[in-house]
Protein backbone atom coordinates (compact mmCIF):
# COMPACT_ATOMS: atom_id res chain seq x y z
CA UNK A 1 0.00 0.00 0.00
CA UNK A 2 2.79 2.36 1.00
CA UNK A 3 4.71 1.45 -2.16
CA UNK A 4 1.69 2.27 -4.27
CA UNK A 5 1.29 5.64 -2.60
CA UNK A 6 4.95 6.50 -3.14
CA UNK A 7 4.79 5.47 -6.78
CA UNK A 8 1.71 7.61 -7.29
CA UNK A 9 3.38 10.57 -5.66
CA UNK A 10 6.50 10.26 -7.83
CA UNK A 11 4.32 10.09 -10.90
CA UNK A 12 2.42 13.24 -10.01
CA UNK A 13 5.72 15.09 -9.51
CA UNK A 14 7.05 14.11 -12.91
CA UNK A 15 7.81 17.26 -14.82
CA UNK A 16 8.36 18.15 -18.44
CA UNK A 17 11.99 19.11 -17.80
CA UNK A 18 12.74 15.52 -16.72
CA UNK A 19 11.77 13.92 -20.03
CA UNK A 20 13.69 13.63 -23.27
CA UNK A 21 12.51 15.64 -26.23
CA UNK A 22 14.40 16.37 -29.45
CA UNK A 23 15.16 19.82 -28.07
CA UNK A 24 17.08 18.26 -25.18
CA UNK A 25 19.81 17.76 -27.78
CA UNK A 26 21.62 21.05 -28.30
CA UNK A 27 22.46 20.35 -31.95
CA UNK A 28 18.85 19.44 -32.82
CA UNK A 29 17.62 22.52 -31.00
CA UNK A 30 19.97 24.73 -33.03
CA UNK A 31 18.77 23.11 -36.21
CA UNK A 32 15.12 23.72 -35.33
CA UNK A 33 15.90 27.32 -34.38
CA UNK A 34 17.61 27.80 -37.75
CA UNK A 35 14.52 26.40 -39.46
CA UNK A 36 12.33 28.78 -37.44
CA UNK A 37 14.58 31.67 -38.47
CA UNK A 38 14.17 30.83 -42.17
CA UNK A 39 10.40 30.58 -41.77
CA UNK A 40 10.26 33.85 -39.84
CA UNK A 41 12.24 35.69 -42.52
CA UNK A 42 9.85 34.47 -45.21
CA UNK A 43 6.79 35.31 -43.08
CA UNK A 44 8.05 38.86 -42.52
CA UNK A 45 8.77 39.21 -46.25
CA UNK A 46 5.24 38.07 -47.14
CA UNK A 47 3.63 40.39 -44.60
CA UNK A 48 5.66 43.39 -45.82
CA UNK A 49 4.68 42.56 -49.39
CA UNK A 50 1.00 42.35 -48.37
CA UNK A 51 1.24 45.67 -46.51
CA UNK A 52 2.88 47.34 -49.51
CA UNK A 53 0.17 46.01 -51.85
CA UNK A 54 -2.47 47.34 -49.45
CA UNK A 55 -0.85 50.79 -49.45
CA UNK A 56 -0.75 50.83 -53.27
CA UNK A 57 -4.42 49.89 -53.36
CA UNK A 58 -5.34 52.65 -50.89
CA UNK A 59 -3.42 55.20 -52.96
CA UNK A 60 -5.18 54.06 -56.14
CA UNK A 61 -8.56 54.36 -54.39
CA UNK A 62 -7.59 57.85 -53.20
CA UNK A 63 -6.73 58.89 -56.76
CA UNK A 64 -10.06 57.49 -57.99
CA UNK A 65 -11.97 59.53 -55.40
CA UNK A 66 -9.96 62.66 -56.24
CA UNK A 67 -11.09 62.57 -59.85
Amino acid sequence: MMMQLRRGSARSERHASDVWTPTSDHAVRELLDHLAQELAAEYVRLMKKAASAETDLDMARGREKGR
Binding site: S17, P22, L32, A50
Partner: protein, 193 residues
Protein backbone atom coordinates in the same frame (compact mmCIF):
# COMPACT_ATOMS: atom_id res chain seq x y z
CA UNK B 1 -11.26 37.12 -29.07
CA UNK B 2 -10.09 36.35 -25.56
CA UNK B 3 -6.62 37.84 -25.97
CA UNK B 4 -4.55 37.40 -22.85
CA UNK B 5 -6.96 34.82 -21.46
CA UNK B 6 -5.93 31.65 -19.74
CA UNK B 7 -7.50 28.24 -19.50
CA UNK B 8 -7.32 25.45 -16.94
CA UNK B 9 -6.74 21.87 -18.05
CA UNK B 10 -10.44 21.04 -17.90
CA UNK B 11 -11.39 24.23 -19.79
CA UNK B 12 -8.76 23.53 -22.47
CA UNK B 13 -9.96 19.93 -22.82
CA UNK B 14 -13.56 21.10 -23.18
CA UNK B 15 -12.65 23.75 -25.73
CA UNK B 16 -10.63 21.28 -27.81
CA UNK B 17 -13.22 18.53 -27.32
CA UNK B 18 -10.59 16.10 -26.12
CA UNK B 19 -10.24 13.96 -23.00
CA UNK B 20 -7.96 15.53 -20.39
CA UNK B 21 -5.57 12.57 -20.39
CA UNK B 22 -4.47 13.37 -23.96
CA UNK B 23 -3.50 16.89 -22.91
CA UNK B 24 -1.75 15.65 -19.77
CA UNK B 25 0.22 13.16 -21.87
CA UNK B 26 1.52 15.94 -24.12
CA UNK B 27 2.55 17.99 -21.08
CA UNK B 28 4.29 15.06 -19.41
CA UNK B 29 6.16 14.27 -22.62
CA UNK B 30 7.44 17.85 -22.70
CA UNK B 31 5.65 18.60 -25.98
CA UNK B 32 3.53 21.37 -24.46
CA UNK B 33 4.97 23.65 -21.80
CA UNK B 34 2.17 25.56 -20.03
CA UNK B 35 2.78 29.27 -20.49
CA UNK B 36 1.32 30.35 -17.20
CA UNK B 37 1.86 27.75 -14.52
CA UNK B 38 3.09 24.17 -14.47
CA UNK B 39 2.04 21.36 -12.17
CA UNK B 40 5.13 20.84 -10.04
CA UNK B 41 3.65 19.96 -6.69
CA UNK B 42 0.58 19.90 -4.59
CA UNK B 43 -1.75 22.85 -4.83
CA UNK B 44 -0.54 24.13 -8.19
CA UNK B 45 -2.15 23.53 -11.55
CA UNK B 46 -1.45 23.98 -15.20
CA UNK B 47 -2.79 27.14 -16.83
CA UNK B 48 -2.69 27.51 -20.59
CA UNK B 49 -2.46 30.47 -22.96
CA UNK B 50 -4.08 30.85 -26.39
CA UNK B 51 -0.73 29.84 -27.88
CA UNK B 52 -0.80 26.65 -25.76
CA UNK B 53 -4.27 25.90 -27.14
CA UNK B 54 -2.97 26.19 -30.70
CA UNK B 55 -0.01 23.98 -29.77
CA UNK B 56 -2.38 21.38 -28.31
CA UNK B 57 -4.62 21.50 -31.37
CA UNK B 58 -1.66 21.05 -33.75
CA UNK B 59 -0.06 18.33 -31.62
CA UNK B 60 -3.33 16.40 -31.27
CA UNK B 61 -3.96 16.56 -35.00
CA UNK B 62 -0.44 15.25 -35.69
CA UNK B 63 -0.87 12.47 -33.11
CA UNK B 64 -4.19 11.53 -34.76
CA UNK B 65 -2.15 11.11 -37.94
CA UNK B 66 0.22 8.79 -36.00
CA UNK B 67 3.20 11.14 -36.03
CA UNK B 68 5.53 10.06 -33.18
CA UNK B 69 5.76 12.29 -30.14
CA UNK B 70 9.43 13.23 -30.79
CA UNK B 71 8.77 14.92 -34.13
CA UNK B 72 5.61 16.50 -32.68
CA UNK B 73 7.73 18.07 -29.91
CA UNK B 74 10.17 19.33 -32.54
CA UNK B 75 7.33 20.90 -34.53
CA UNK B 76 5.91 22.65 -31.48
CA UNK B 77 9.37 23.95 -30.54
CA UNK B 78 9.81 25.31 -34.08
CA UNK B 79 6.47 27.11 -33.93
CA UNK B 80 7.46 28.75 -30.63
CA UNK B 81 10.84 29.79 -31.98
CA UNK B 82 9.12 31.06 -35.13
CA UNK B 83 6.82 33.30 -33.08
CA UNK B 84 9.75 34.66 -31.08
CA UNK B 85 11.76 35.44 -34.21
CA UNK B 86 8.89 37.08 -36.10
CA UNK B 87 8.06 39.26 -33.08
CA UNK B 88 11.58 40.72 -33.26
CA UNK B 89 10.65 42.13 -36.67
CA UNK B 90 6.93 42.69 -36.19
CA UNK B 91 6.24 44.08 -32.71
CA UNK B 92 3.16 42.64 -30.96
CA UNK B 93 3.15 39.64 -33.27
CA UNK B 94 1.19 36.80 -31.67
CA UNK B 95 1.11 33.48 -33.45
CA UNK B 96 -2.53 32.64 -32.80
CA UNK B 97 -3.99 36.10 -33.33
CA UNK B 98 -1.94 36.83 -36.46
CA UNK B 99 -2.58 33.48 -38.12
CA UNK B 100 -6.31 34.08 -37.61
CA UNK B 101 -6.18 37.28 -39.67
CA UNK B 102 -7.74 37.19 -43.11
CA UNK B 103 -4.48 37.95 -44.94
CA UNK B 104 -2.30 35.58 -42.90
CA UNK B 105 0.11 33.41 -44.90
CA UNK B 106 -0.66 29.71 -44.85
CA UNK B 107 1.86 27.97 -42.60
CA UNK B 108 1.85 24.22 -43.06
CA UNK B 109 3.61 21.16 -41.70
CA UNK B 110 4.52 18.51 -44.26
CA UNK B 111 5.75 14.99 -43.55
CA UNK B 112 7.38 13.40 -46.57
CA UNK B 113 7.06 9.63 -46.91
CA UNK B 114 6.71 9.27 -43.13
CA UNK B 115 10.34 10.16 -42.55
CA UNK B 116 11.14 13.81 -43.20
CA UNK B 117 9.77 16.98 -41.71
CA UNK B 118 9.18 20.18 -43.69
CA UNK B 119 7.31 23.43 -43.22
CA UNK B 120 5.78 25.46 -46.02
CA UNK B 121 4.71 29.06 -46.20
CA UNK B 122 2.64 30.64 -48.93
CA UNK B 123 -0.02 33.17 -49.77
CA UNK B 124 -2.94 32.89 -52.15
CA UNK B 125 -2.34 31.04 -55.38
CA UNK B 126 1.44 31.56 -55.41
CA UNK B 127 3.47 28.37 -54.95
CA UNK B 128 4.51 28.01 -51.30
CA UNK B 129 8.15 27.92 -50.26
CA UNK B 130 9.31 24.82 -48.45
CA UNK B 131 11.75 24.69 -45.54
CA UNK B 132 13.36 21.91 -43.57
CA UNK B 133 13.93 18.29 -44.48
CA UNK B 134 14.77 17.02 -41.02
CA UNK B 135 15.07 13.24 -40.75
CA UNK B 136 12.65 11.74 -38.20
CA UNK B 137 15.50 9.57 -36.87
CA UNK B 138 17.17 12.75 -35.65
CA UNK B 139 14.12 13.36 -33.54
CA UNK B 140 14.18 9.97 -31.85
CA UNK B 141 16.05 9.44 -28.55
CA UNK B 142 17.75 6.19 -29.51
CA UNK B 143 19.07 6.77 -33.00
CA UNK B 144 21.71 9.47 -33.30
CA UNK B 145 22.22 10.27 -36.97
CA UNK B 146 24.05 12.98 -38.81
CA UNK B 147 22.12 16.21 -38.56
CA UNK B 148 21.17 17.74 -41.84
CA UNK B 149 18.68 20.28 -43.05
CA UNK B 150 18.05 20.55 -46.73
CA UNK B 151 18.49 24.21 -47.57
CA UNK B 152 15.30 25.92 -48.65
CA UNK B 153 16.81 27.11 -51.93
CA UNK B 154 17.73 23.54 -52.80
CA UNK B 155 14.27 22.15 -52.01
CA UNK B 156 12.49 24.92 -53.88
CA UNK B 157 14.82 24.70 -56.88
CA UNK B 158 14.31 20.95 -57.18
CA UNK B 159 10.57 21.07 -56.58
CA UNK B 160 9.31 21.55 -60.15
CA UNK B 161 11.11 18.54 -61.55
CA UNK B 162 10.73 16.19 -58.58
CA UNK B 163 7.43 14.55 -59.52
CA UNK B 164 6.03 15.23 -62.90
CA UNK B 165 2.69 13.59 -62.11
CA UNK B 166 1.88 16.27 -59.55
CA UNK B 167 2.16 14.09 -56.46
CA UNK B 168 4.55 14.99 -53.70
CA UNK B 169 5.05 18.62 -54.59
CA UNK B 170 6.75 20.78 -53.56
CA UNK B 171 8.84 18.77 -51.09
CA UNK B 172 9.20 15.70 -53.31
CA UNK B 173 7.32 12.95 -51.48
CA UNK B 174 7.45 9.74 -53.49
CA UNK B 175 4.54 7.69 -52.12
CA UNK B 176 2.95 9.40 -49.12
CA UNK B 177 2.61 12.84 -47.64
CA UNK B 178 0.93 14.33 -44.60
CA UNK B 179 0.07 18.02 -44.69
CA UNK B 180 -1.36 19.97 -41.77
CA UNK B 181 -2.30 23.64 -41.96
CA UNK B 182 -1.30 25.48 -38.79
CA UNK B 183 -3.06 28.58 -40.14
CA UNK B 184 -6.26 26.59 -40.73
CA UNK B 185 -6.15 25.14 -37.21
CA UNK B 186 -5.56 28.62 -35.72
CA UNK B 187 -8.52 30.03 -37.66
CA UNK B 188 -10.79 27.23 -36.41
CA UNK B 189 -9.84 27.51 -32.72
CA UNK B 190 -13.06 28.38 -30.86
CA UNK B 191 -11.52 31.17 -28.78
CA UNK B 192 -14.31 33.70 -29.16
CA UNK B 193 -17.00 31.91 -27.23
Amino acid sequence: MMVGSQWSLSQAARLLRQPQHRLIYLCEKGVIVPDLEDAKGRGSSRRFSARNLLEFAVALRLRDLTIPVGPVAAIIHTLRAFEAKVSREIPRFKLVQNLREKVAPDLRIIVRDGERLYFSLGVGSSPPKVYGGLDFQTLSPSKPVKLKLVEAEQVNAEAPQIRIGGFGRPEGSRHARIEVSVTGIAKDLPLDG
